[in-house]
């Protein structure tokens, strides 16, 4: 099967899965205790506004027509109005998604690179002290409780030592000042990003290291490594050019497989650091009983996870031409 056909098939699958998720959410909302209308329409709205919204969302119709309205509104992008912000939720979530992607992709890429690099070293020194320490620290980092690490980082680096902002993504005084240029603003965001990034990095690189290490050990047993040795290549070339690129492939799979796990971790990191991302918005809206916003955040995260899995699979096919689904 060609890559294009594969992508097409997977997109259809994603659409089906997404449709199921939408339906389950609809059913759950109707099953939940209390009046579903009060969950979707802000109780503080004026009666006329509320009535208009109820009609727009079809909440005064029989249940199967409501379901039709629900699907139609979803595909038209009408996900309701956030109670907290008083704005349509779609306009809120896009900017949040962007912030999440900046933080999250940077963290995943950096930790995967570090994991591959250190895993390579660990496997090369298998059984020696370097290996023991790397493996052990990877195990410990991998099981650290993420929100706690985030709190400790804030306590140590932002409070005790200082020099890092406590929370947030931007400093108001820099962004409000019209004289500050693009680079200053970028630097400001980067400065705010260091601690959340460090938290996510610490939690993730361990598992990548462990996978890289065991995959590298498998690869080193392959015949082509023996061939490379027989050809008289130096150990360094064998390690970096022959073994490592092949051994790194399972790390990519694991990035895809652990994505759901990492997204939860991302939400926790965003919440502790008040990083205005989609995960924090979800936590925030659930605390505020802002159901329309919570639902929109959840659906957006689901789309992102499903599509990223596809991207990972395609990337894998591209990197390893032997793999065809």
């Amino acid at each position: 099967m060609g890559i294009r056909k594969f992508i097409f098939k997977r997109l259809i699958e994603i659409l089906v899965i997404f449709f199921i998720i939408l339906t389950v959410l609809f059913v759950l909302l109707r099953l939940s205790p209390g009046d579903p209308v009060s969950r979707i329409v802000d109780p503080t709205m004026t009666p006329e506004d509320a009535q208009r919204l109820i009609e727009q969302l079809g909440l005064n119709q029989p249940i199967w027509i409501q379901y039709g309205y629900y699907l139609k509104n979803f595909f038209l992008g009408n996900l309701g109005i956030s109670f907290h912000y008083g704005q349509p939720v779609t306009s809120i979530i896009w900017s949040r998604l962007f912030n999440t992607i900046i933080l999250f992709t940077t963290a995943v890429i950096l930790s995967a690179l570090a994991g591959v690099f250190l895993g390579k070293i660990a496997s090369w020194h298998k059984g020696e002290r370097t290996d023991t320490w790397l493996t052990l620290s990877a195990l410990v980092c991998h099981t650290l409780f993420l929100p706690w690490v985030a709190l400790i980082f804030i306590w140590v680096f932002a409070y005790k030592i200082g020099g890092f902002p406590l929370t947030g993504m931007i400093s108001a005084e820099i962004w409000a000042d019209p004289s500050s240029g693009f680079w200053l603003k970028l630097l400001d965001v980067a400065h705010h990003m260091i601690l959340p990034l460090l938290t996510l990095f610490l939690i993730h690189f361990g598992s990548y290291l462990l996978i890289m290490r065991s995959s590298m050990l498998d690869t080193l047993r392959e015949d082509y490594i023996l061939t490379a040795r027989a050809k008289g290549l130096t150990e360094k070339i064998i390690r970096n050019r022959h073994a490592a690129p092949n051994a790194a492939l399972p790390v990519i799979t694991s990035v895809g497989l652990s994505l759901a796990f990492s997204i939860s971790g991302g939400a926790l990191t965003e919440t502790v650091f008040s990083w205005p991302g989609i995960g924090r918005e979800l936590v925030f809206s659930v605390s505020n009983n802002d159901y329309p916003l919570a639902q929109a955040c959840f659906l957006l995260i689901a789309i992102v996870v499903l599509l990223s899995n596809l991207v990972v699979d395609v990337l894998y096919m591209y990197l390893d031409p032997r793999i065809r689904y």
Partner: protein, 308 residues
């Protein structure tokens, strides 16, 4: 997925307890396993001790016991070895109670997800065809859902969730990984002569699954259980940390939520540090135990477990 060769490990007919005894001697030599087991025993003692602290003095009740002389967070003292929280409750007794909750949540959620995952995996693998396709599609779908966020959206619909509902939800969302491994194991077992023999002898599919396949996949299920305990503890702790835990329980995540939300975190390291260390160490202990068991059962399984 590559089908690992496990011929020499799962010899049909060998008795489970014999193998356990034999494996124990390999396990004993494993450093990770020893560290993990030691840590687990320490935490188990903490969990048991939590039953006795309220008996010493009612103020050591983790939830309701308040020191009559203290109404704010104080540092370690003679009566409160780890200090008190924002309303004068003893932190050490909360920490002990947290161990109990963590074990309860971790083991029961892991057990349920393993039972579900093993059963579904065996059925999918043995039945094949459309049953298999349907079950595995379902597994794929659940696998991509971030469990923590699913539980969050459910608690936005149904309000505060009871601890057992949380356990059940974790179990319901954590079985797919297990069922995939059990399925591929079942697929290879299905080709063995002893299954063929059972079929010829007239055994029903259910009998074959439970009497002939189950004993052979059980070690693998047990291995997965240790990893599931880890993820269940983390999910519950994270949920409590965000303020969506069961308000009737004192878990380590809840303690962190209190120290964070009451604004004590910069002033009260004696309160901030212990719960986090406990969560991290307990999950580490189960994880190490899992890795050690993995090396005993099959060193080549490792890749399928990472990232869960």
């Amino acid at each position: 997925m590559k089908e690992p060769d496990r011929k020499n490990i799962f010899t049909p007919g060998s008795i489970f307890s014999d193998r356990l005894l034999e494996n124990w001697s390999i396990f004993k030599e494993n450093l990770l396993g020893k560290i993990g087991l030691t840590l687990l025993i320490i935490f188990a003692f903490m969990a048991v001790a939590s039953f006795f602290t309220p008996l010493i003095d009612p103020m050591y009740n983790p939830m309701t016991g308040v020191d009559p002389n203290i109404s704010y967070s104080t540092g370690p003292s003679f009566h409160h070895w780890l200090g008190t929280d924002f309303i004068g409750r003893d932190i050490l007794s909360q920490l002990l109670a947290g161990a109990r909750i963590a074990f309860m949540v971790g083991i029961s959620a892991a057990f349920m997800s393993i039972v579900l995952g093993t059963f579904i995996g065996m059925v999918a693998g043995y039945a094949g065809k459309s049953t298999d396709a349907l079950l595995m599609r379902l597994a794929d779908m659940i696998m991509v859902m971030p469990t923590l966020l699913v539980v969050l959206i459910l608690s936005s619909l149904f309000g505060q969730l009871n601890i057992w509902i949380i356990v059940l939800l974790i179990a319901l969302f954590r079985w797919p990984g297990v069922s995939r491994v059990i399925r591929s194991q079942t697929l290879s077992l299905k080709q063995r002569p002893f299954i063929e023999a059972a079929k010829v002898a007239g055994a029903s599919p259910l009998r074959i699954i439970f009497r002939h396949i189950l004993p052979n996949v059980l070690p693998l299920s047990l291995l997965y259980m240790t990893f599931r305990v880890t993820s269940a503890i983390i999910i519950e702790a994270a949920l409590s940390f965000l303020g969506f835990g069961d308000p009737g329980t004192v878990s380590w995540g809840m303690m962190l939520q209190w120290v964070w939300k009451t604004g004590n975190m910069f002033q009260a390291p004696y309160w901030l540090i212990p719960p986090g260390i406990c969560i991290s160490l307990l999950t580490l202990a189960f994880y190490m135990l899992g890795r050690a068991m993995e090396e005993v059962i099959d060193p080549r399984l490792r890749k399928e477990v990472e990232g869960e």
